[in-house]
Amino acid sequence: MSAPTRAEVCVAACADAWAGDGEILASPMGLIPTLGARLARLTTAPDLLLTDGEAYLLAESAAPPDTAPVEGWLPFGRVFDLLANGRRHVMMGASQIDGFGNQNISCIGDWSRPRSQLLGVRGGPGNTVNHATSYWVREHSPRVFVPRVDMVCGVGNDRAASGPASARRYHDLRLVISNLAVLDFAAPGGLMRLRSVHPGVCAGDVVAQTGFALAVPGDVPQTRVPGEEELRLIREVLDPAGRRDAEVSSGG
């Protein structure tokens, strides 16, 4: 089997975010996180609940967006119930994210009259104060990794720490996975830290593409590459059409 592509490394890194999560709902936003959640279900997190992105829970982990056999029903109202109940790990996108993990998907510029209106806060405020949250960023750049986000949708570690106790009771930021690296929040004060770099990327590349002072340990490991069986699952079962490579370019 040929060597893993960058997209496949990202899929495996996303899958690792859900490893060991047990019997909870995985809510991936976007293709790479979706492939990651479905890979996790086939490998390290067999009890995960998967959705088709609409109202069905899937009995089997298959290629999205094909509808696999169904095991249950989860319309939006039930998702709201389950997220407040905490049995969920979401992986959202981020148009902007800062060093404390505050995330913005609402708008760019001054909120009262934005330069660019985006999606809106969606479920970001509620997700982040209720259950585990990770992020996927498909193009790691200083435009996304910013010193300050224009609108705090997903709550970061500084906001949670300085807010009321009820804001941090279930606050649980886990990982940020980008096309260049895996990052966590293990630096002092809950700041973002470079956890691993994808094959072909060096720590300096990540620092150069990050718009705030990133904590970089002395020795940054390489991101785990998917094994033979994981590659087979990604290539033959989950994404035989190769849509992942249009999401993330091979990039060395």
Partner: protein
């Protein structure tokens, strides 16, 4: 009681400045025939409460909207709503931006005639910064938790679109998700339901499992039969989203002229004229 009425009769119940809740979600099962009729009307200064899709974009573009209360506006298969984006950039519409769960809590409070309901969502986020009228409440019990006191979002009118209804106002969804259409109706003073087909009660009940009867007649004031009335949003299993037409709608936001052309071709006539133009467009594309 026979609550059936025409599109015009339904829209006549709406007045300038009213708060109008619109059911569905994104570009899914939106009461678009009623939305189009509002776009054609003289109504103005409306406040819309919605899990927003082209209902919001179309009414904003038509100049009917003073304020939008929402957590997002999206076309689903096309993530960003171009008319809403334009209006925000140009400062043409006010916004009350809420977490999706906060929006539901506000509707639940209104439905239960409560002044507010507590919710964790919103804490420590900028939702509280951009909505300075929002307050928190401290639990009176031993935990002392501080939570957002989401105020009731009481609606003057709710507009929802269902697959089937009977003339008395019992109504049925046949797709996978009820969205929050029942809650929109309970939160509103006037409840107007459009549907693909009005059928006798026995046929309605026979048409799906009893759990699909989302609305009962105590929740509904008016029923309008609007075949393809959710077009171009999805209304499964009757029809899916018309992606081709949705792209055409997106293109209409490119310039004032593009909107003016879209409006005169698709909106300035009545609903039958709209559907005829939609069919003509689909025929030309084949």
């Amino acid at each position: 009681m026979d609550k059936s009425m025409t599109i015009a009769g339904a829209v006549a119940q709406i007045s300038d400045g009213m708060t109008v809740g619109i059911g569905g979600w994104g570009s899914r099962r939106k009461p678009m025939a009623l939305v189009r009729a509002i776009a054609r009307s003289d109504l103005r200064e409306l406040t819309l409460v919605s899990y927003g899709g082209p209902d919001v974009g179309l009414l904003v573009a038509a100049g009917k909207v003073k304020r939008v209360v929402c957590g997002f506006v999206t076309l689903d298969s096309i993530p960003l709503e171009p008319h809403f984006r334009r209006a925000r950039r140009d400062g043409l519409v006010q916004l009350t931006e809420l977490d999706e769960g906060m929006l539901r809590a506000g509707l639940q409070a209104a439905a239960q005639r409560l002044p507010f309901l507590p919710i964790r969502a919103g804490l420590a986020s900028d939702v509280l910064r951009v909505n300075p009228e929002l307050r928190c409440v401290t639990s009176p019990y031993g935990d002392g938790e501080e939570l957002v006191a989401m105020p009731a979002l009481t609606l003057d009118v709710a507009l929802v679109h269902m697959n089937r209804a009977d003339p008395g106002g019992n109504a049925q969804y046949l797709g996978p998700d009820p969205y929050f259409d029942d809650l929109f109706c309970l939160a509103a003073r006037r409840r107007l339901v459009s549907c693909e087909r009005i059928v006798p009660t026995a046929e309605l009940v026979a048409g799906g499992p009893v759990q699909s009867l989302l609305l009962n007649r105590v929740m509904v004031d008016g029923v309008v039969e609007t075949p393809r009335g959710a077009h171009f949003t999805s209304c499964v299993p009757d029809y899916g989203r018309d992606e081709l037409f949705q792209r055409r709608y997106v293109e209409s936001a490119a310039s004032d002229q593009a909107w003016s052309e879209f409006r005169s071709r698709f909106l300035d006539g009545d609903e039958a004229g709209y559907l005829a133009q939609v069919d003509a467009l689909a025929g030309a594309g084949q």
